[in-house]
Symmetry: C2
């Protein structure tokens, strides 16, 4: 059972937008044991689309296409699909009613001809009704290959995958089991980690594959097991993880598939009944934003002061001008004063404070570009670490965000776990 | 002159990470007039890699491959490329010295065997020296097709594209001109915009293609002109834009290729010498984070208070408990109190305040999930708009961020532009 994901759109091929749809689709298919063997991004061009469909026909069982179903003239996917299936476009009354209602409700105007055209579908297709948008999805079959076409707007595509496509696939196909287990590690580099667990890795059976997925400050270890016997796969994976855990205990932070540091930290804060706040300068609110991207964050996150301007450090956080003059805004002393100030202001157990220079130019201090001080205020003390995260700007910000979360996470584990 | 971008890695095919490399490479190639006809993501599998290389050979002029050059065992790209080119791996002394030095400098330890293996390259390849990482890039040619292999770590890949690959391509190929012009619009839906500019669109010459790129709250119009005569292309594009501008004046916010609302707003604030702060509840600091993602934001952004917990609205922003009790935390009154409070606290000309319920569960108020109040404090007044951004949580947050920036941008344009 193999699937290919095809994204249509010149905006992807010229690099104007990043394709996030393929990743979502692949993840959803994997969860029900359907393997994606390839992803393709092709142009809004009739010949290119036809060639691709022809090439995939009989080669894979399932082709999921996104993009090119919007109301405007640059969208030619629907017409091309109709041609490929030697079909004609007909009005689907349910879709037409739905589009009319949506436009009237949200835009308070009658529908235009372009909106009406969205209700046209190939006569032989099965319509995948789009509750959250105007472009319907389509399900078509040809010589044993299923072709599914979905709109490119991410939340419409997601809605259709979850509510229309996955249920049909589960019903239609007998699927093998694919199980992924991911271990999130922090603070140890990829090659050192690999050498440390070499013996364990060499002993993995053939049906388990291991991958190293490095990102700033962390490495994910992903094991993938494939087979017919789900219980056996789960059992062997559990045994292998039990053997691995003690070897990476010092850097292991998460064992769930979707674990991120903010999710793992959030769970720990809830479990230990602890609260947190942040004081941010060069990270500009991103630590707060990352913490609150987790649903339920209000249980432990109280708030943040983004003291971007130097004067805000004085006025809002009450840090003395004399201290700033003496040590400069990018210093251990100011980071610690920031942490203690927000900890008091928001009445929290912990606080993360960051001050630094993300670059590309030097700011209100003489600190080298990339320099970042991170302070953690705990119920008992405050401590600081200094880093240089280099350049570019986004990397400095992202590494500071991750390092701040990592420092407070490790501190709680070490000293505040009941 | 056609190019294909190939990404190797199972982590992409199972949807664990989103491929951002292909987008960056496509953008870089487009800027020097090389068209990307297709992007492929394939698995870390020897046969799959070999089949793909063979299929692209002679079909395109350039293949850029990323991924699978890390130090660990799951990376088989280099071995497979060596086999495809019927070559052998040899140690490159320059790379070996560089890797040794990097590891000693950053990790304070001698190099491991896995690190040493990174200095192995096919004997016939041209090494693309990687100043910022341990895996070298490789440039190989076979029967008129150039194959470039780069590490998958984004900043290493970017460094090599910018400093090694692009200069070589400029030298090697005679390229046609491809010019993109993008107009960023806010607040008018895709189909309505399309109907409004239909006549203008129909009159575009064949060598100019128009695409509509919708995202939450905004639509980008992208024109792409292709041809040999750069001056003519620029001239016609300028004429067409001059004709279009008056038709979309009410919703046009940017004319630069990389314009985003935060960049356009930042430029306007600098030009008018104005400052801004934010008070954020359900957006959790993301407006501040988006504003400060722009280099130079310290010229106009003073800071933010993320008052996530209700108690923080009282303690940090000084909003009376009585007002909160009377109207609930998700209300016009609280949004306006938040805006006025941070405007005063940070001594700014403008403030954006957001309070709402991003969901999925109801929080400290009875407001329906998706409800958001956005207030803008100006030098003269404060005003508020109420929205329901539906679900899911990320969409509510992103739409609130964009809408907040849009409201303040339009207010400044209308009433505070000198």
């Amino acid at each position: 059972m193999k699937a290919t994901v095809v994204t249509i759109g010149d905006e992807i091929l010229i690099g104007q937008i990043v394709d996030t749809n393929s990743s979502f689709i692949a993840k959803s298919l994997n969860q029900i044991g359907i393997e994606v063997n390839e992803m393709l991004s092709i142009s809004d061009d009739k010949k290119h689309i036809l060639d691709t469909l022809l090439q995939l026909q009989n080669k894979v069982n399932l082709v999921i296409i996104t993009g090119g179903l919007g109301p405007t003239k640059d969208d030619i996917t629907k017409k091309t699909l109709t041609e490929y299936f030697e079909d004609t476009l007909v009005v689907n009354e349910d879709v037409l009613n739905h589009v009319t209602q949506l436009i009237e409700q949200y835009f308070k105007r009658p529908i235009t001809q372009l909106n009406k055209d969205q209700a046209l579908v190939p006569s032989k297709c099965e319509v995948l009704f789009n509750q959250v948008g105007t472009a319907p999805g389509m399900w078509m079959e040809k010589e044993g290959t299923v072709f599914v076409s979905l709109p490119g707007v991410p939340f419409e595509m997601k809605h259709l995958i979850e509510n229309e496509v996955i249920p049909r696939l589960i019903k239609k196909y007998d699927r093998p089991f694919i199980i992924h287990k991911t271990l999130l590690t922090y603070g140890v580099g990829e090659s050192l980690l690999a050498e440390r667990i070499e013996e364990w890795e060499d002993a993995l059976p053939d049906f388990i594959k291991l991958a190293y997925l490095p990102s700033p400050g962390s490495v994910r270890l992903r094991m993938t097991a494939r087979g017919k016997d789900e219980d056996m796969l789960e059992k062997v994976l559990a045994e292998k993880i039990a053997l691995l855990e003690p070897q990476i205990q010092d850097c292991l932070v998460g064992l769930e598939e979707d674990d991120t540091l903010q999710v793992v930290l959030g769970k720990l804060l809830v479990k230990e009944n602890l609260t947190i706040a942040t004081a941010e300068s060069c990270t500009g609110g991103k630590i707060a934003s990352v913490l609150t991207s987790v649903s339920g964050a209000s249980a432990y996150f109280r708030g943040s002061v983004v003291s971007y301007a130097t004067v805000a450090k004085e006025d809002v956080l009450g840090i003395s001008n004399q201290l700033i003059q003496e040590y400069s805004v990018v210093s251990t002393q100011i980071a610690e004063a920031m942490a203690l100030s927000v900890q008091k202001l928001f009445k929290t157990d912990f606080a993360i404070a960051v001050t630094g220079n993300a670059g590309p130019l030097k700011g209100d201090s003489n600190a080298e570009v990339g320099t970042v001080f991170i302070s953690i205020a705990t119920p008992k003390e405050v401590f600081t670490e200094e880093f240089n995260f280099g350049q570019p700007r986004e990397k400095v910000i992202d590494r500071a965000v991750n390092k701040g979360l990592e420092l407070v996470y490790k501190e709680i584990l070490k000293n505040y776990k009941k």
